[in-house]
Symmetry: C2
Subunit: 210 residues, 2 copies
């Protein structure tokens, strides 16, 4: 493994996965991409940012309208003009994710990046989960979700992300054998989770030198 590493973070809603990814990137001194992917995809495609926000991590549906797009504007992608809008968004993000991975080390959150980059040799696939009670505590404190709605909110996101992931990768999220490292962040918290991932990254770096 060269110094060029790509770390993908898949995460359950309310597990702190995004924050863990952000702190990890900071600790390793490499770029971090979450919502930034939306800005980049919008810039490359000529689609509005709102479209990417609305479609973000949602599975395709035949009921969704399709939007005509000039392939020249869609990040160089051809043949996508007749696809449903979600699929266009996925393909454009797919393109952006590959460009970022080619450019240099980074941490990428969500958006099936683990699947999109599966052939990259220096890929480290991480999954962050957490127990329901910890997730409820987190989203009520951090996102201000009311306690009454919290469990329903977690279930809604679980279902949406699972549908999205399954639709594009043909496998369910959270199957240990599909990742390098899966971590329950609930009991140890954000900083210790970053430390565990760093220990894994160190292991990969040492193994590559042998």
């Amino acid at each position: 493994m060269t110094n060029h590493i790509i770390i993908t973070i898949s995460r359950q809603y309310g597990s702190g996965g995004r924050l863990i990814g952000e702190k990890l990137a900071e600790t390793l001194g490499i770029p971090f991409y979450d919502k930034e992917l939306i800005t980049l995809a919008a810039e490359q495609s000529g689609f509005s940012r709102e479209i990417f926000e609305r479609m973000d991590e949602r599975a395709s549906s035949s009921l969704l309208y399709t939007l005509s797009v000039n392939p020249g504007m869609a990040g160089g992608l051809t043949g996508i003009a007749d696809l449903p809008l979600n699929d266009k968004v996925f393909l454009i993000q797919n393109n952006v994710i590959k460009q970022l991975a080619d450019k240099g080390s980074c941490v990428i959150v969500g958006r099936c990046a683990d699947y999109i980059l599966k052939e990259y040799p220096n890929l480290i696939k991480v999954f962050i989960c957490s127990d329901m009670t910890d997730r409820i505590e987190r989203i009520t404190k951090v996102y201000g979700v009311s306690f009454t709605n919290a469990e329903r909110e977690v279930q809604k996101y679980d279902k949406r992300r699972s549908n999205y992931y399954s639709f594009y990768t043909h496998t369910k999220p959270g199957i240990a054998a599909n990742y390098d490292l899966c971590l329950n962040s609930g009991q140890i918290g954000i900083d210790a989770s970053v430390e565990v991932i760093r220990a894994y990254v160190e292991g990969r770096r040492r193994a590559a030198k042998k």
Copy 2:
């Protein structure tokens, strides 16, 4: 968390999980139980060691003969006389695992210990997996399995252990959300895997002090 910690290691065949558990126990200075569970269960039950070896991590089957047993000899278990032999073995091992966990810190490999001890507050549930190529390399080198039979051997053990785990826990092995930490040992090797688990254990110890 007090200093009393129980670490259970579930593992795919050929992932090096047993060795990782053994080295982890050594590093932490706590006892390690794998085949030792068989000896203890045999001693407590009055069953022969051969019975435990034959039944080890195998699911129950209605086709299996049942063996009469004196409940007084079966680790103090009552009402198990009419159960199929596999279930008797499971219950006796269950008893032994709980006794060990009550006694003090330890590392326990396999035998649904993560499920058996699920109510223990200081339980750390680890799952070790590895890619097929790495598992084949390991079992041909370490266990002397012929390369021709290796993949079939891995599949046979995967199926057997999965049946055993599902039979007694009503869930499949390797679902990330059911563990604290899941680790693919293939690319980083045994020692680095031990380091990653240690980083998690450290995190739990720090969190308990807060």
